[in-house]
Symmetry: D2
Subunit: 442 residues, 4 copies
């Protein structure tokens, strides 16, 4: 049964704390939401380890995916009578918006790095492979799933469609900024989305913004800037992320060195071997990860059990500002001293760096190239945002990196007194003023 134009008898709604209601008029959207692949997103947190810093941040990617869909639905609703807009692509946009994060796994960032995975690859596989999602999409029309996959992959020919879910001011970003602000409770993350949606116009290959809405866009950019530094790169969150990565590294290492786990970690085997199939990937949600972490707290390997116990019970590492590029000597010395005192520095002395580019204009050839934001001026011309806005210009293209050194303060404190201990304490400023993971969100 072909799906096209198959409207639900009566519109359905989801109560949503961020957008008040998410409206569904199309049966295909309804059916996509009901698939196991989409329901699985309920078991994956939107913000990974952030809940250990901001206790409200327990919301899932399911939440966010509905939100992105809803924003695209509203944008398109405003476009209906515009010349440039081809309403045949309505359903394509809605599906791509809903499914764009489908390939995310638990704690994606760490898993991808440790096991050399790419969630975008799995998004493509879920849409094109042997899944409920695929079956439903193909009922819209043959080849429809490929189109959806192309939009998400940014290779779809109509770049206007792509820009709705992937640009400097797309539905994805507008949803997550507001949603993550709502659930963490921070006061950043607010901007006048209703105003932005009203002034968005489809022009050629992109969605542009009427210049009368420039200040609302400035607010959005600033909001993004604040959210990055206040929430996404919060050092306590990164402390948990560091421990998580080390757990995965250790488990892989043990597996590779023929360690015998008390219970065979069969969900992880293909990850350790770096040949994860779609079916294995879909099974590994956060509850499975937590299950193993709980078990591993009782493993004989002291590093694995300690790290798991730390993660599960939020006994995180402390940190200091530390730039290994500039502090090479201290780094080498600390590494040696840790080894000397019996604390494995490969697991317990970790540098983590974060960086963000709050707003960037187009630079051909870069990997993560995103379309810049263009303003539609009263005379009909387009101007790139940072040329009109002082504030945006001021933060445009400025990459800021923040390095921190993480370590288990509690362990160091319990070391027997020795010259090594004293020197460690000195190098890590442990006698002085310092901020630590115990500060939660402060």
């Amino acid at each position: 049964m072909p799906y096209k134009d198959d409207q639900l008898h009566e519109e359905k709604v989801f109560k949503d704390p961020v957008h008040r209601y998410v409206h569904v008029q199309d049966r295909v959207i309804w059916d996509l939401i009901a698939t196991p692949e989409f329901q699985r997103l309920r078991r994956i947190k939107q913000l990974g380890t952030s809940y250990l810093t901001f206790h409200g941040a327990e919301h899932s990617r399911f939440n966010h995916s509905l939100g992105v869909y809803e924003i695209v639905r509203r944008i398109i609703g405003n476009f209906e009578n515009r010349d440039r807009w081809n309403n045949d692509e309505r359903l394509l946009c809605l599906c791509a918006a809903l499914l764009h994060d489908l390939g995310h796994g638990p704690f994606s960032h760490s898993f991808e790095k440790v096991f050399k995975l790419d969630h975008e690859h799995f998004t493509q596989q879920i849409i094109l492979g042997d899944t409920h999602i695929h079956t439903i999409l193909e009922q819209v029309g043959p080849g429809f799933s490929q189109k959806v996959a192309d939009v998400i992959d940014k290779t779809y020919e109509d770049k206007l469609v792509v820009s709705l879910i992937s640009s400097q001011i797309d539905a994805d970003r507008m949803d997550y900024l507001q949603r993550d602000a709502y659930f963490t409770g921070v006061s950043y993350g607010h901007f006048d989305m209703e105003r932005i949606l009203r002034v968005m116009r489809p022009i050629e290959d992109q969605v542009v913004v009427k210049s009368s809405g420039m200040h609302a866009v400035e607010d959005y950019i600033m909001s993004r800037y604040q959210m990055y530094w206040q929430v996404y790169f919060h050092p306590v969150t990164r402390s948990a992320e560091v421990i998580l990565s080390k757990i995965l590294h250790r488990a892989k290492y043990l597996y590779e060195h023929d360690y015998t786990f008390k219970l065979e970690p069969f969900h992880f085997i293909s990850f350790f071997n770096e040949n994860v199939g779609l079916s294995d990937y879909l099974k590994l949600d956060e509850s499975i990860v937590f299950y193993y972490f709980q078990l591993w707290q009782e493993e004989d390997d002291v590093i694995l059990s300690d790290l798991c116990e730390r993660f599960m019970n939020r006994r995180l590492f402390k940190y200091i500002e530390f730039n290994p590029n500039k502090q090479m000597n201290e780094w080498v010395e600390l590494y040696r001293l840790f080894r000397e005192t019996g604390i494995d520095p490969d697991y317990y002395l970790v540098v983590d760096s974060s960086s963000d580019l709050p707003y960037d204009f187009y630079r051909p050839g870069e990997e993560e190239e995103r379309l810049p934001i263009h303003l539609l001026m009263p005379d009909g011309n387009l101007k790139e945002l940072s040329r009109q806005s002082d504030i945006v210009e001021s933060i445009s293209g400025k990459k800021r990196t923040d390095h921190k050194l993480y370590f288990p303060k509690d362990v160091l404190r319990k070391l027997d007194d020795s010259a090594a201990k004293q020197r460690i304490m000195q190098l890590l400023h442990l006698e002085q003023h310092w901020k630590g993971a115990e500060n939660h969100a402060d």
Copy 2:
């Protein structure tokens, strides 16, 4: 090292979306939060299966526990200079508030019913047993843990202290109404807590409310009423709860009938045997439950695997209004017809009833007796709320029960045509107008 009066060097805060900030000044509170027993509450949802109806309702009991603590902290702050108030009990109140829900397990309601458990029993055990919590409480002073346990058990001698966390208008209820409204996104659940806190007064055995604040209290009572019927007893949530219970029943049944699970469900064994120790209890958080439900989707027993697949993928039962007391004949007939068509009615034809008493005055001898709300009149006398408030009087003491019959509509539809099928469809009004689980929050 005794804890008493041991203030943190600098106040710590948690960013909280409901109360903006949760403030911690006492080291003992800080240390209690850091225990494994308390951190475990992060892995137990506050609202059980409600997230399947309201996707925002993914917040944990950890969240709520901090919130109750914060409200009690604010109430006590207002009491400081009142005659009746004994500030020596400050820390006792704070600890009891923080820990009052400590014994909750995953999906408490269903687990308690199926396995005959009582979360309050485990709260007592965690506070008094061999736990980190217990150790920290005893450092405040010998016997302090017993006092905390008594307050939570409502047996503590100073009933004023008890009433802060257990009365018709306690910190527990004030937090959960606001918090659950915030995370679900419903517009009910708002009342002027700041006003209520300002007019609370400690008098004799209870916290009373100055009569000038009566309307704020009315709003609170109405808010509670609406939250019960709109959120807590939502029929879709109950559909998930029904399936969950049936999974537990089936697994227990299979275990008792020597069924061989593909993986020994060792976390569940003591539950099946109904002799759960503290250590086993603490291990069973939601991620463990989800782990088994995922595995059991692939069990050979078709009932267990079907129910688990339904729960994990939100393929819920539909429902109709149905009062088995009044519709005994239909019930018997349906039961027989289900059996006849090969659908086990013990798992697939389930009546669920819910009821609530929105506000009740004291009735001696009842099990769940809670202190009524008293108003402090300008002349210094106390009056019971429902005598002063028309609105409260109107809903006071009225028990309302709502019965629904749950069944798998999808299975019934796929039955071969037969007289039995036709009769089932007729009895369940499946040809007519009906509301079903597909309505999500609508």
Copy 3:
């Protein structure tokens, strides 16, 4: 130039704190807003003397009128494809919504009572008389202004149209509850209007509400109940209203007794003579009233100057609960004692009563008959709300009246000691516990 279907080239918006934006698409609406008669509403407060109790309540009737228009616009937007709805009446509804309060003057309540006026009469006159409003309406089509007047007068033949701005759950009430709550800052007044608008359906002669939205309607009814008792009938607001009425009475009395005002009160002459023409009526906005009250503070008549000084500087009367029907003897005695001590009881001893009917079902023959709220049941039948809702039933049709006695406590205190003074103090409970106007919003 006929107006019909004359859309603005580009939609205009007003930023509105309650509805976020008010959208205007029709040139006629735009032009009506720009008339002097409509702009005059900026100089008339929505809540009269309430700003003396709630300092935020300084918003004007201009605000509210735009809000009612916007709500009707949204309701109609949802009706567009419904059978019952005749979209030819769209512009009629919008105009009637915008203009329904056009005839209000400053502090309407007091002015109407003292000078025997009726703001609805003036609304009709402004729409049908020689005004900018009339000219614009007639450009829509001949006779259009009469239609608008009829809708506001509730005599228009299509009662569905009438019910949008005048029923138990009309746009007027939905706007003022939310708006007055917003500006006063009280926490009552919130209900889920978006939900209510979604479930409204035009059926026969009225707008009904799908039964699935019953709880949102309950919330609205409760909100109205709370706003009446917490805001609209606040005793401090009524104290100011009492003084205002007495000023008008006194000025009229003086005029009738050939008193010579320092400046001829020419704006008031036709009011004193009770033959107010449209032109005089439109000139008398709040700033004119304040101008005279300022001047009159310096009049020789001590009663007039004292009352004006009280009103302008918020030196209000205090009050006690007092029911003259039941306390006739005290009343007579107080009246006599006031006279005896030289305080004119006709101006300084005032009983004020207020009452409200929070929700009422239809009672044929009553003056203020408003259509009851009907629920549209799943089976297509209509049921009156109070039959389905316990809460509404409980407050339905219950008239509650509240009597208070107002008097100038400051004057009484300064009386020379005497038996009369002592008896007055006793009768007014001035030695005891009492609440007074100094409590502002508390």
Copy 4:
């Protein structure tokens, strides 16, 4: 009766939509609020002509003054146990906060410019002159009123006290940003004040902010930047301001040229003569101004009556971007053409410029020198904000000026066709795309 330490028997509260509640504990504060001089602030709008752009902006200076008081009260509450803080100055701070805007008159900006007044001068006079305010302040202690005046005048010796109400991040600014955002309904103006208050510390001569709160301060600075350009300098508001100024100019001109007004404008005489005494000043509130503007609509002088009619009925001037410094030739030509076509350019062709310095560090010798914001670093040192914050640095010290040319488009349109008219239309771009006052807030 000395006031010091005279607490109210029971704390009083005002319901405030921005800060929820304003709390009053001191009798002197209560009594100051009740004075005629303070109550007068109810009749002066906080944002002057902004209500003609944002209809919600009808709030008075009374509102704002209570808000500033409340913020200072909260700041001081946090300071109580800090070394640097001298609690003897508590009452002084509270009084200065409450009274700092006392000297404002209606539409201060225009009145000050046209009549060469200074509201700060009148604030001093009200505090030190023969007023109720003065009497009450002196009851606190002899000389107390002079101290309050000095704090407001920034000459008080303890600069810490001064900085609470007059610095780059004082209570004044924090209140008006939030309050004006609330009443206009714009989404700018939000920042985390609770956080800022928590991290404020009294150090030497100023209030500094702990560096951990830097991002909240950035948000505040950005909020201020956005409010200036979106609200305070809105071109439609300025259009009304332009007309208002021209009315005052014309009335003064007529008075000076012996024009006979129909009613002697006795409230204005001392303003025309530029020798305004305190008593005259206090009488001139907004209702008086509106009274005259209404009368003047019927004056024989066509310029005065036209301008008054425009202001009262919001028939504002349109505008184009226009920098007279760079467009001298056009300016001269337009001026000549207006004169030629009989439209007096002195009243109908007006350039208005606005500018703002969003955040500035200290530059000795400048008139409006305000203390820069200092961050308290973890090592105890102070650093100036813009050195730590990229965003603030980017907008720091950058003066931006915006020039617009205002004119009555409606009049120009009605001119007879002529070369002059054509040239005017061309110079003012009236055939093209242009934005005008009809856009309200868009």
